[in-house]
Structure formats: structure tokens, C-alpha cells
């Protein structure tokens, strides 16, 4: 009995030492890097509404991002989250806590992102979230921070276009706008719904689907790297993306919208775009980001997936 007691005490002691070390290490690092940088050239601090108390007391953000969706949310070669969405989230960390490291990322997928947000595992989701009425009934949207257009990815020798989709097989990701649009507007088109964009690309390359219908930003990246596939000239379903916030969290909405407006005014989205898109493609995407003179609006009251070409 006594031996067990001694062993337990030793274990507890070891655990305490480990936690103390673990807690000390990152804390020390932050102080070291932040101190010299912060003093000399501190930018004019933006006037933002107070941070929601849950985030403020935790001293870092918990944000859901895509990990399979370059160039918006992906894991880079070093295993770090990166991309347009990730850098927007890091800018939030900088605006809130003065360091872009003060954010913890959780990987979400198209079908899992809203459940992840609603179950409070993250504060907000910055995850290529296109506005839809059904989604807006479940969660609140920030003001838009990007606007995507739908395009078709086809094999080089294919003649498929939007007007000739009848009888063809379209692949897209589960829960995406494109699935509902295809079901509503192309009754004779077969639909494959998969869980990740990568699976959809292989469905086209393996001949299981005739075309992958998806966001231009993702598809352009694929088409520029893969010589077997190309994009058609069709553009459709131009709907802005927003940051997902749990319903009724007004303090959060106010802070996020103020931060986005501040970034828009300073044309920061273009900077983030340049950091993530291949240089030769940046110019074709300048209209997709909010800029001082480029404002987007959600199609509130309209079911975009029911508007057929």
C-alpha cells in the first residue's frame, strides 16, 4: 500500500514538472520575439470593438480552416497550415493579440465545418464558406472576404461545357453549392459527391466523372499544375464567401466585421492574395477579393442554386 502511495506521489511530481516545463517553453519564446519588434515601429493600432470574452481570456483564437484546399487552406511541406484563409485568420490573431501565432487551427472539411463550429470546437470558421440561405439559417456570416466563381475542370480532349452537361457525370464535393445547383438545373446529369476536392480531381482523371464543377481558385491551381486537364470558359454561381460565426454571437460578429473592414480599407486582401496565388494568376483574381473600391454582397433572399442558366 505504501509503495503504491510513493509511486503515485512520484508520478504526480513528474507530471507537475512536465506541465511546468511545457507551459514555460512557448511562453518564454513569445516574450523574446515580441519585445524588440513591438517597440520600434508599432503600426497605428486599429480601433476594433472589444474581443469576445471567451477568446480574450483564452489569449488565442481557435479557428477552423481547410487543410485540403490549396491555395486557401492547406498544410505546407513543413506541416504548417497556410493559405489565403489561414493568413486571414493569422491577421486576426495579430489584430487581437499582436502576434500571428496566437491562433490554433483545426482542420475542417466541407461537410464537417459547420458541425465543428456549432459544437463550439472552434470560435469561427474561415473555410472557403460560400454564403447560402440554408447555411445562413444555421449560422451567422461575416461580411464577405472573398468571392469565388464556379468553373468546370475537364480532361483536355473533352468537349463538355455547361450547356452540354445533359447525360454527363459531374463530380463535386459533398455539401457544396454546385451539388444543389446541378440537381436543380440539370435533371439528366449524374452527380458524384465526394468528400475532398482531391478525390474529385482523381474521379475526373480516372474517367469516373466527365467534369469537376468547383471554385475557380482551386481549379486554376489544378489546371496549371496538371497538363492532362483544363478549364472550360463557363463561369457560374458567383457568390461571396464569409467567415462562419455561431448564431447570436453579436460581439464576435462585430469584431470580425470590423477587422475585415479594416483590412479591406488598407487593401490587405490583395497582399494576402499575392502571397498565395502564382504570380501570373494574381491579375485574374484581383476582382475576387474585397478592395477599397470592390465590395461584395450576399444574394440574400435568393436561392442561387435554383437560378438556372
Amino acid at each position: 500500500m505504501r509503495r503504491i502511495g510513493v509511486a503515485a506521489a512520484l508520478l504526480l511530481l513528474a507530471a507537475a514538472v512536465f506541465t511546468a516545463l511545457g507551459a514555460a517553453a512557448p511562453g518564454g519564446k513569445v516574450v523574446r520575439t515580441a519585445a524588440p519588434l513591438a517597440k520600434p515601429k508599432k503600426p497605428a493600432k486599429p480601433k476594433l470593438p472589444p474581443l469576445p470574452s471567451a477568446v480574450k481570456s483564452r489569449k488565442h483564437w481557435e479557428i477552423g480552416v481547410k487543410c485540403d484546399f490549396p491555395p486557401f487552406g492547406f498544410i505546407d511541406v513543413r506541416g504548417n497550415n497556410d493559405g489565403y484563409d489561414v493568413q486571414v485568420a493569422q491577421r486576426f490573431a495579430q489584430l487581437a493579440f499582436g502576434s500571428k501565432k496566437k491562433v490554433n487551427f483545426t482542420c475542417v472539411t466541407t461537410p464537417s465545418r459547420i458541425p465543428t463550429l456549432m459544437s463550439s470546437r472552434v470560435d469561427i470558421i474561415v473555410s472557403t464558406l460560400t454564403w447560402t440561405q440554408a447555411r445562413a439559417d444555421q449560422i451567422d456570416f461575416s461580411i464577405p472576404y472573398y468571392s469565388a466563381t464556379g468553373r468546370l475542370l475537364v480532361p483536355n480532349n473533352s468537349s463538355v461545357t455547361v450547356p452540354t452537361l445533359s447525360g454527363k457525370t459531374v463530380v463535386t464535393t459533398r455539401g457544396a453549392l454546385y451539388a444543389a445547383w446541378t440537381r436543380n438545373c440539370f435533371k439528366n446529369t449524374k452527380l458524384l459527391e465526394v468528400d475532398s476536392p482531391a478525390l474529385a480531381v482523381s474521379a475526373v482523371k480516372d474517367g469516373r466523372a466527365d467534369t469537376f464543377m468547383f471554385d475557380d481558385a482551386f481549379l486554376l491551381g489544378v489546371a496549371t499544375q496538371d497538363r492532362d486537364v483544363r478549364l472550360t470558359n463557363d463561369k457560374f454561381l458567383n457568390v461571396p464567401w464569409g467567415i462562419g460565426i455561431r448564431k447570436g454571437e453579436t460581439a464576435m460578429s462585430r469584431w470580425v466585421n470590423a477587422a475585415l473592414r479594416y483590412m479591406k480599407k488598407r487593401d490587405e486582401f490583395v497582399k494576402i492574395l499575392r502571397a498565395n496565388a502564382p504570380a501570373r494568376l494574381v491579375s485574374s483574381f484581383l476582382d475576387n477579393v474585397p478592395r477599397p473600391k470592390n465590395t461584395f454582397a450576399y444574394p440574400v433572399g435568393k436561392d442561387v442554386t435554383a437560378i438556372c442558366p
Binding site: 457525370t169 459533398r174 469516373r208
Partner: protein, 226 residues
């Protein structure tokens, strides 16, 4: 909590969607059950009668299929065959769907029928041969009618599994029942309603299938076993 927010109207409104998915599930399952029974009888007979070469190939096939997860088999047909060196095989999603369950069910039915045919007492076959039937004649007139009926109860299990395993085709995005429900949930976020309806639908369908086959089994049961 579940009862308070449960949206029956949602299920009602989306019954046509479930029906679309169910139609695909039933189509694939029907081909799957018929195909796997055919494979089972042919290869089961080859195994039981130790037909050279065919029997060895059948044994390899059974071992490969029974010792790999069906999900891996689906991914293999959908993802690996199109990249087969020298001779890529590109298949339609529907073809992949029924092929996967036929191949899977065929392996299990081969074993079911092998056991059934081997359970036919040797003296019955001797009697058939003595009556002047050839080897094939003996098989069709003696071994098959008796052995298949012995194998019937275990094939019912396999049939139900073939039907249930079609749900795994959701992994390649084939629009069967589970995939339809999963997509519906991703767009509506009504997880409780969708998965409840999904579970009930499978329960009804598989139960009906088992019930029907049990009736057939009782009708076909060997007189001495009745």
C-alpha cells in the same frame, strides 16, 4: 432534446430524395445478389469437385477477397484499375458499384456453396452415376438441388450483407442511399432526421429481404429437414 427539435416534416419533404437513393441501392444490390449467387454456384461446384486449375484460382480469389476489407476493394476498382500499367480500365461509377459487391459476395457465396455441395452424401452421387448420369448430369440432378438447399441459410446472410455493403459505395461518391443521406445532411445539417430516416429505411429493406428469402428457404427446405 432530440424529440423536441425533431423535424418530421423535413423527412417527409425529402422522401423523394431517399427514394432516388434507395432505387440505386436496390439496383446495385439486385445485380450484386444475382451475380454473387451465380459466381458462388459455379466456383463452389469447382471447389467441391476439385476441378483442377479452376479450383485453385477460385481458392485464391476467395482468400484475397475474404482477407481484405471491402472498402479497400472498392478503392482498388475505382482508383487502381484506371492506372493499371499498359491496360488502364476505366469504369462508370455504376459499373464499379455492382462489380464491387458482386466480387465481394461471390467470394463468400463460393464458400457457402462449396460447403453445401460437400455436405451432399457421396452415396447420393454414386447413385446418380449408377443410374447412368454423367458427371455433369449428376451435378445438375443430384448435387445442385440438394447442396444448394443446404447452402441456402448461409447465402441469406451473404445476400443481406451484399445489400448492406452497398452503403460503403458512398466512399466513391456513388449516389446510393447512404450517399444521398450523407449529402442531404451536409446541405441541411439535419443530422438526426437524416440518419434516423436512413437507419429505418435500411432496417425495413434488409428485414424484408431476409423475410422473403426465409419464406423461399422454408419452401425449398429438404423434406427430411422439415
Amino acid at each position: 432534446m432530440l424529440a423536441a427539435n425533431f423535424d418530421w416534416q423535413f423527412i417527409w419533404d425529402h422522401l423523394p430524395d431517399f427514394w432516388e437513393g434507395l432505387k440505386q441501392t436496390l439496383k446495385v444490390a439486385a445485380i450484386g445478389i444475382a451475380g454473387s449467387l451465380a459466381i458462388g454456384i459455379v466456383l463452389g461446384a469447382a471447389r467441391a469437385h476439385r476441378v483442377p486449375v479452376v479450383s485453385w484460382l477460385a481458392a485464391t480469389y476467395v482468400e484475397v477477397i475474404r482477407n481484405t476489407p471491402i472498402l479497400v476493394q472498392i478503392f482498388f476498382i475505382a482508383g487502381a484499375l484506371p492506372h493499371f500499367p499498359g491496360h488502364p480500365i476505366r469504369l462508370e461509377p455504376f459499373t464499379i458499384a455492382w462489380l464491387a459487391v458482386v466480387v465481394w459476395g461471390g467470394a463468400y457465396n463460393t464458400e457457402n456453396f462449396r460447403a453445401g455441395f460437400e455436405a451432399v452424401p457421396y452415396r447420393y452421387r454414386e447413385a446418380g452415376l449408377a443410374l447412368g448420369f454423367g458427371r455433369l448430369g449428376t451435378f445438375f440432378n443430384v448435387t445442385l438441388p440438394i447442396g444448394a438447399r443446404i447452402a441456402l441459410p448461409s447465402t441469406i446472410n451473404t445476400n443481406a450483407s451484399v445489400l448492406k455493403n452497398t452503403s460503403l459505395l458512398t466512399a466513391i461518391g456513388f449516389a446510393e442511399l447512404t450517399n444521398t443521406a450523407y449529402s442531404l445532411e451536409s446541405e441541411s445539417f439535419k443530422a438526426a432526421e437524416v440518419y434516423f430516416a436512413l437507419g429505418v429505411t435500411y432496417l425495413i429493406v434488409v428485414w424484408t429481404l431476409s423475410g422473403l428469402t426465409r419464406v423461399v428457404e422454408r419452401r425449398l427446405a429438404l423434406p427430411e429437414a422439415r
